[in-house]
Amino acid sequence: MSVASEPATAVELEEEQRQVAEAQAGNLDAMRPILERYAQPLYGTVILPRLGDAASAEEVLRDTLATAVEKIRRFTWQGKSIYPWLRQIAINKVYDVHRQAKRSRRLADAMVHEIAVESDPDTHADAQLIADQERAAHRERIDEAMGLIADRYRTAIELRLIQELPREECANRLGITIGTFDVLLFRAVRAFRKHFGEHDGD
């Protein structure tokens, strides 16, 4: 399997094509390696960033994979990875969740800008490249919103949510008490949320 940022080799694509063909011929077990390979990029770069809730994201991932197995006969191999097809199923499922739960689509809409890129039929990027591009696009959106909040808020988010340092360590670095850091992070996330996705008219 290729690693992130490295394009899939012709051999890997050939293997994937063979597995898809086998599944389309009725051997659904042949889908297992494909699902195992793409579960993480679907979860980490497509579903979770649009839902923000790990439990719902896992359910959506399972439904996405199940739908892919059920509808594998409808998939047409076009000389590139099956990943964009899986990704589109996942995005549709995410919107279903937002619709059914009558949740705000703020998070999903905030990430909507990448969809057109990967849905372009002329795009022949392989799965890892697509996932990397998508992650970079998400990061860009995060950075945009981070750029609009106070420095101290940005630092609090960086330390706690990106570097994932313990609260005590974050407070020490900022020279404040844990209680004050808690307030700072609370306000920082509120401030971030106000700016996140606002370009989409939310």
Binding site: L65, L107, I162, F186, A191
Partner: protein
């Protein structure tokens, strides 16, 4: 100072240096603990307020976009197995205790047993239905009908069932013996 009435999601966010009210401190601490749990990979409680849920989702999005959220390998495999089983026709099971799909595919066995049992039952019903009904067992030629033997039962003799049964038994025994060529 931030007031208790501030709307968490839509209200203005105080400046970083602004003094926090006791209620804001309390909410901030509760949120910090939620973040702790999420970072530790634990599921947040289902009964979260809409505000806390919205803020926690934003925190998760930031982490996910930074590549900090991995799906553990065991969970990934379980989800894949669940998805395969779900697609093949079962319901979506819980992610624990996942049965490999190769075993799940043996689900045709109970269906086969059930089908065979149904076929046997249908055949049995058909045989019973199509079979020529046999005539009721005739009385021995010598036996008398119960009307002739007992006749209508008066209300005052209703309790004499034992004597009536004896009468019928004696009559049937006589008939049987006659049919064998023996004298009663």
């Amino acid at each position: 100072m931030a007031t208790d009435d501030d709307d968490i999601l839509t209200g203005p966010v105080p400046a970083p240096e602004a003094e926090a009210s006791p209620s804001e401190r309390m909410r901030a601490k509760a949120f910090a603990e939620l973040v702790d749990k999420t970072l530790a990979g634990r599921t947040p409680p289902p009964a979260l307020s809409a505000d806390d849920r919205a803020l926690l989702e934003v925190a998760t999005v930031i982490r996910a976009a930074s590549g900090n959220v991995e799906l553990p390998a065991a969970k990934r495999s379980a989800l894949v197995e669940d998805a395969l089983r779900q697609a093949i026709g079962g319901t979506a099971p819980a992610t624990s205790g996942v049965v490999p799909i190769s075993r799940a595919r043996r689900r045709w066995v109970p269906w086969a047993i059930s089908g065979a049992s149904t076929a046997v039952a249908v055949a049995a019903v058909l045989v019973l239905w199509l079979r020529t009904p046999s005539s009721p067992t005739p009385l021995p030629p010598q036996a008398r009908s119960l009307d002739a033997l007992i006749g209508p039962i008066d209300r005052e003799h209703a309790a004499d069932a034992a004597s009536r049964i004896d009468t019928i038994f004696a009559d049937r025994l006589d008939s049987y013996r006659e049919s064998l060529g023996r004298a009663p």
